[in-house]
Symmetry: C3
């Protein structure tokens, strides 16, 4: 196969954006991920089972960055849960195509990657694979390839299992 | 250490090829991986125990792309198994050297990477590490670095454990 | 967000160095990692719990490459343990900044990445996530970006759990 020119050109910047999201959560700077969405960007966490059948039910579905901020705020001040943290492993970032841009002067890329989130409970040190699946992202680049500003217009986490242990309080 | 020039030049394209293989399987487009092998390419899945002792026994050993197609066809229409799917995590792609090319006008690269395959059972949602190990690949590039056509001349999955749970029906 | 120029310029070489460390251990050439540290480089393995509280206690803390060589020698000839090996998965390599260089004519980069080490026991084939966490590395580049020599001035593994099963004999 040939490597798509879009991939060669933008893969490094797109990987960096995806890794920034993961690192913000893993370092407990969860608030920072909302800034990686465009103001109208959408963040969804849904099972592969539902996704494959085009069933709309999702365990998280934020229609814009403000909704995501709200959810994170609720995690900080309202939800009661056993303390734990995540570790993201991401692989296979591929730019699979371009989409019609939302704004003039921007590029909109269709991106796939695989994720695994390993959860560690703070009290007893228990470690397990909490979620694994595919991300289907739309990444917008404002400006040129080397020096542009990147945001997610869509972040869609599709997790493989229908089973989520206990609950999902920290976003993936 | 210095970064080998071969790695700097070709790593992006080689990673893309490796990720394409993984994504085809994870998205249940398994047939597509046979097109990533050259017609005479070899695909082998063998334990580290056997590999280290140069014991030839492998659980999959396709001597060409047609044999791999045959095996995938058998998975689709003949094998009886509990439905499940894979999620690949790949890391540490390194081009460790060049080999004498099979054809004039091509480059043959010796490549290493680490893989983990997480298996999710469709019925009960059970998630576990199904296999982990090293890939030892030979990747052929026809044409120039940026715009060439890439194929595997050899894909060798060496898994760490001698234990494969239940059976391996979907190729790694 | 913008991709930092330092990241764009050096990420490929830094990733290669990090992957070389992992591969040396996974291929049981553990001695080779000491050569990836500068002679005065520091290698530390510490829990996230201790790191977050700035508690100095670490399960491995080598103040220079010679101490790391000593520890590896001890693993080879003195320690008694059930045979096992590791498989590293690394993701999210990001160059987050530059530090004042230790020597003139060099660049010192501040680097983050996520790691997971999957351990396979040689006797019964048992596979489990042995450790997962973040690396906080300082990478020194002597010479130019494309052709320079890279070493770790600091490798700091911060593992998420406070629980290490049995013992850690092979370095991460």
């Amino acid at each position: 196969m040939k490597t798509p020119a879009l991939h060669t050109q933008h893969a490094r910047a797109v990987e960096h954006l995806i890794h920034e999201w993961a690192r913000a959560i893993d370092e407990d700077r969860v608030e920072a991920i909302a800034d990686l969405l465009t103001p109208g960007g959408r963040y969804t966490v849904r099972s592969r089972f539902n996704h494959d059948r085009q069933l709309p039910m999702a365990i998280i579905d934020c229609h814009n960055a403000a909704q995501l901020r709200d959810r994170i705020k609720s995690m900080r001040i309202a939800n009661i849960y056993e303390p734990h943290h995540y570790r993201h492993l991401v692989s296979g970032v591929q730019i699979v195509g371009a989409l019609p841009p939302v704004q003039a002067g921007t590029v909109l890329l269709d991106v796939r990657s695989n994720f695994t989130v390993i959860r560690t409970m703070a009290l007893d040190g228990d470690v397990k694979i909490f979620a694994t699946g595919q991300c289907q992202d739309q990444v917008q680049i404002d400006g040129d390839a080397l020096n542009g500003e990147l945001h997610f217009v869509q972040r869609r986490f599709i997790y493989d299992s229908r089973v989520v242990e206990t609950l999902m309080v920290i976003p993936l």
